[in-house]
Structure formats: C-alpha cells, structure tokens
C-alpha cells in the first residue's frame, strides 16, 4: 500500500505541517517543510545532527514558534504559544526513556500538569488538588485500558520497565492525546530499556495514536516506522513508505550521497 492510497483511505490527517520555516539568526534550521501524519501511523524522522529534526518537532509541540508556515491539527489551523496549548490539542512529547518523573508516584505522573482541583468551588479557587479523585480515575483508566499496575501511590522509580511503559501509555491515551512526538527516546539506553521504548511505540500505534519518531538508529527507525521522512540541512529530502527504502539508502540520503525523489 503506498502513502497516497493510505491517505485516501484514512481521510483527514491528524497532523499536517504546511510550508514550515524557522531560522535562528543566519541559520535556516527548517526550510519549507510539509508533511502529513495519519491516525495510527508512525513516521520515522531521520537526519544528521543539525538537519532540523528537533527544531521541527519543537515547533509542533509548542516549544518554538515558526517564522512561516501552518500547523493543522485535525483539520484546524493552530498556533501554539507553549507546550500546554499543544497538549490541550492532544499533542504529547516524550523524551528520554518515556518522560516519567521517577520520584513521583503513578497518579502524580499521569496527572502531571493536568491536576484536578476540588471537590468544592472554594477549594478549586484555592487551587487545592482533589488527590483521591485523581487516584480513582487512574485506577479506572488502567482498568479500561486493560493494564494492570500496582497501587497508584507507588513511586515510578520502584516500577519495572514494563510497568513504566504502561504508565507512559496511560498518560497519553487516558487524556485522549492522539499525536506523540518522540525525540531520541532511546538514546543511551540499554537493550532491555530500548525494547520497552520501541514496543511503547507499537502499543501506541495499536491504540490509534499517531507518532513522530526521531532517532539516529536506523534499525529502530526501520522497525517501528510506517513511513520515513529524511531531513538534510533543514529541508525534507525524502518521504516514502518504509518498504520503499533500505538502511543503506537511508544513510546515503542522510549524508547527501544519494538523492532519490
């Protein structure tokens, strides 16, 4: 199945980036980049250091503002002033090893910066958290997703890799987030932890979540991606289904030795 046929089948893309550009002084980090992302699709975003991958993802996540271009989420044009606004539209960013805070417990991590206040209006006004309600909804949420976990008060530091993965999945899915941006999520991780990150991507995909996956590791990219986008010197130089490219060709595209498209 090629990309265009898939596009017709899946309707509106969940995320569309149109003619995005961003410069830092004289450095043109991202130049006129466009692409679409569909529900349940994983895009592997690759390129050499300084190719503009992280800048591109920061713009989509609300961390940076583009100079020109549009970000269209679920068919509507959006501009994000900060990461909170992007999160409100269902865009989550996941960094190094699942972006969890090990010294906080499960419920605290799932509700981090999305705390529930209350239960009364006065307490909401006083910004007092409704902790028991948050713990209850975490338990309900995990049941709904069919994930088993220790009590919600357990610190994430005490969880196994698989359990942490479940917390990270819950944090994305329970909030109805449907776009996840992952910037080098498996850099400097061991074999076992890397496997947890990669299967995290696969499980998100199974939940219908769309993922942009940045990595320098071609093996990881080829394993999890449906489509691969290559950036070089700020420009998109390649965009095609995974089956259309080999690891060798990818390396050529990244370094500029090969030109396809």
């Amino acid at each position: 199945m090629n990309a265009r046929a898939a596009a017709d089948e899946r309707g509106t893309p969940v995320l569309e980036v149109r003619a995005l550009s961003k410069s830092f002084g004289a450095v043109r980090a991202v130049r006129d980049v466009s692409f679409s992302l569909f529900a349940g699709e994983v895009i592997g975003l690759v390129g050499d250091n300084g190719a503009g991958k992280s800048t591109l993802v920061s713009i989509v996540s609300g961390g940076l503002k583009p100079d020109v271009g549009q970000i269209v989420v679920d068919g509507a044009d959006r501009t994000f002033e900060n990461p909170s606004q992007a999160r409100a539209r269902g865009i989550e960013t996941v960094f190094q090893f699942l972006s969890l805070v090990p010294t906080l417990d499960i419920a605290e991590n799932v509700f981090l910066n999305r705390e529930v206040y209350g239960p009364t209006r006065v307490l909401r006004w006083l910004k007092r958290m409704h902790k028991s309600e948050m713990r209850r909804s975490v338990v309900r949420g995990f049941e709904r997703l069919g994930l088993s976990l220790p009590p919600p008060r357990t610190k994430v530091a005490a969880l196994s890799g698989g359990q942490r993965q479940a917390v990270a999945i819950a944090r994305v899915v329970l909030w109805g987030s449907h776009i996840v941006l992952m910037d080098e999520p498996a850099a400097s991780l061991g074999v076992k932890q890397t496997e947890i990150v990669l299967s995290f991507v696969e499980r998100l995909k199974a939940q219908g979540v769309a993922v942009i996956f940045i990595s320098h590791n071609m093996e990881h990219v080829l394993r999890v991606s449906d489509r691969i986008v290559v950036m070089r010197l700020g420009e998109k130089v390649f965009d095609a289904p995974r089956s259309d490219v080999t690891a060798m060709e990818l390396v050529g595209l990244i370094t500029g030795a090969t030109t396809l498209v």
Partner: protein, 341 residues
C-alpha cells in the same frame, strides 16, 4: 503485618525523626537544664528564623536551584532598616515595609538572572552573598544602629498565647509551605523541574516562573529573618546572618531533600531544622567549646549525604511483578522487608 508495613515504610523514610528523638534523649539525660520550658523556648526561637528561610529554600533545592545569599541579604536589610529609622527618622512600620520590598526585589532579581537568563544559581547567589554583605558594610561604615523602640521589639521578643512571635511566624511559614507543596500542584511541579527540566518543560510546567517566584519568596523570608533578629537585638548589627546559609542548607539536606533536586519532603525539612537547632543548643548546654559546634554541623552535613544515598535506594525498591521480569535483585538490607510481606 498489614498495619505494620506503612509504619515501617514511613520510619525508613523518616529515619531522621528517630535520630532526632535519640538526640533529644541524649541531651536530656546528660543535662538537667536541657528539657526545661525556658530552654525549649530558646531552641524554638533560635530555629524559627532558619525555619522561615528553609521553607522557600527547600523548594528551591527541590527544583534544582539554590540560594546562598540569605545571610548576607538578612544583614543588608538590617543595616538599611537601621539607617532608615535612626538616620532618616522613618517609622519602624514604614521601614519594615520598605525593606521587605527591597528583599523581595533582590530575590526576584536573582530569580530573573537565574531562571530567565539561565545564569548559574550557585555563581549568582554566591556573588550576592559577597555583594549584599559588602553593601551593608559600606552603608553602615562599620557602625551599628540601635534603639528602635518597644513596638518593633515585639516582632522578635513578643509573645502571643505564651508562644514567641518568631515561632508563630515560622509556624505560619510551614503551614503555608505545606499547602503550596502538598495541596497545590506546585510541589509536584517543583519535583518534576528538579528531576528533569526538559521533561517538565514538555509537559507545559512553568519551568521559569516557579523558580523566579521561589527566589522572590526566599528574599522575602531572608528579610523577615533579618528583621526578627534586628528586633531581638534592638539593633542592626554586622554580626547578623553570618553562616546562616550553612545552617539552613544543613537542615534542608538532613531533612532528605536531594541536593540535585527532584526529591524531598517539607516534614523532613522541619525535622532537619529542629535537629540542627537542638544540636547546637545541646552542645552549649553541655558547655562544649563553641569551636566544636561547627564541627558538629559539618558532621551532620556528611550524615545528610549518607541519608541521601539511603533514600535513593529506598526509592528504587522494586514492586514485585514476577510475570513481567525475573525476581528483582534485592540488597541484603532490604530482604527483611520482603519477608514481612
């Protein structure tokens, strides 16, 4: 067993609490003058200034920042207060308001440099430590001002319901601190910032505004501390604030707040501050050379480093999930806990 486990958990994480009880017991048995009402009052008044400053101080360290300027800021505002009241003839109430504003803006300026512009927290507040004291020395020209009248004396020496005013102020600081830390979402946010700033930022947490406001609060607390001591002495003296940063920092770290940020509890900080205050007082009561008191504080700091390692290990006790992974490897010291399950 079921009832015992939370208690065992709690006591492992609050080992300092029992160490503190041991310390009190030791001093009480060594000297009849230690556990008297008047001496307990002395301890509480002495630690209340450190306690007030430790509340925002602990939050800063939890978020991965630090404020070393507190003692110097305290002496600076004390000198300015003396100058305003004695030389300029300003009323003590107005002078109090003015120096509180000075302390707040001093703290916010440091916060701006550190949180907004990304300057190093240690370097900026170290500069402040030297600079604020220097400014105080320059303004005072080495001369102390005194005689602020009985009204202002109430702040440091007055009582309400039989308890000294500074102790009340300290209690209010801790209650407010506990609300911000545990009832509002900021304790979690500070923990996240201290644990991994990039992750906190991607979650939309105010990684710049929170430390900025904490530096403001720290400046305000240091000013309040300086004013309380000025009131107790009924004079602005260059001896105020010497070594405060060490005392406060030792209390915070003893209380289990990780120096690298990302972990800590306000209850622990309270015990840590009590521990340091009781230790120095007990050594005085036992007539031990004042030179050795700093040695005791130093040893307490090293003890705090040991506690930090213990807490890190306790955090990592795995939750058994034999289906998912092999039996977790357990350290000898932790085996006991598993047997009790």
């Amino acid at each position: 067993m079921r009832i015992a486990r939370p208690f065992i958990n709690w006591s492992q994480r609050n080992g300092l609490f029992f160490a503190y009880l041991g310390l009190v017991l030791f001093f009480a048995l060594s000297s009849g003058r230690f556990l008297t009402t008047s001496n307990v009052q002395v301890i509480l008044v002495q630690i209340s200034v450190f306690g007030i400053i430790a509340v925002p101080g602990a939050m800063l360290i939890l978020s991965g920042y630090i404020d070393l300027s507190i003692g110097s800021l305290a002496v600076f505002v004390s000198i300015v207060f003396g100058e305003l009241v004695v030389t300029r003839g300003m009323s003590t109430v107005w002078a109090t308001v003015v120096v509180l504003l000075i302390g707040l803006s001093w703290g916010l300026s440091q916060g701006f440099l550190i949180a907004r512009l990304g300057f190093s927290p240690i370097v900026v507040t170290l500069g402040s430590l030297a600079g604020a004291r220097g400014l105080g020395e320059y303004i005072s020209k080495g001369q102390n001002q005194y005689g602020f009248g009985p009204g202002f004396g109430e702040l440091g020496n007055g009582q309400w319901l039989g308890i000294d005013i500074p102790v009340w102020v300290c209690a209010v600081a801790f209650v407010l601190g506990a609300y911000v830390w545990y009832q509002m979402p900021y304790g979690r946010h500070m923990t996240a910032i201290g644990s991994d700033r990039a992750v906190a930022r991607s979650l939309g947490i105010a990684v710049k505004r929170i430390p900025l406001l904490l530096y403001g609060a720290s400046g305000l607390a240091a000013t309040l501390g300086g004013l309380i001591v000025t009131s107790q002495l009924d004079g602005s003296s260059l001896s105020i604030g010497v070594g405060w940063e060490l005392q406060v920092l030792t209390g915070i770290l003893l209380g289990g707040v990780a120096f690298t940020g990302g972990r800590g509890s306000l209850f622990g900080v309270l015990i840590g501050i009590l521990f340091i205050g009781t230790l120095t007082n007990g050594l005085i009561v036992l007539n031990i050379s004042p030179y050795l008191q700093n040695v005791a504080v130093g040893i307490a700091l090293v003890f705090a480093a040991a506690l930090d390692v213990l807490y890190q290990r306790l955090d990592r006790i795995p939750v058994a999930d034999p289906k998912e992974e092999g039996q977790p490897r357990l350290r000898a010291s932790l085996k006991l806990r598993r047997r009790q399950r």
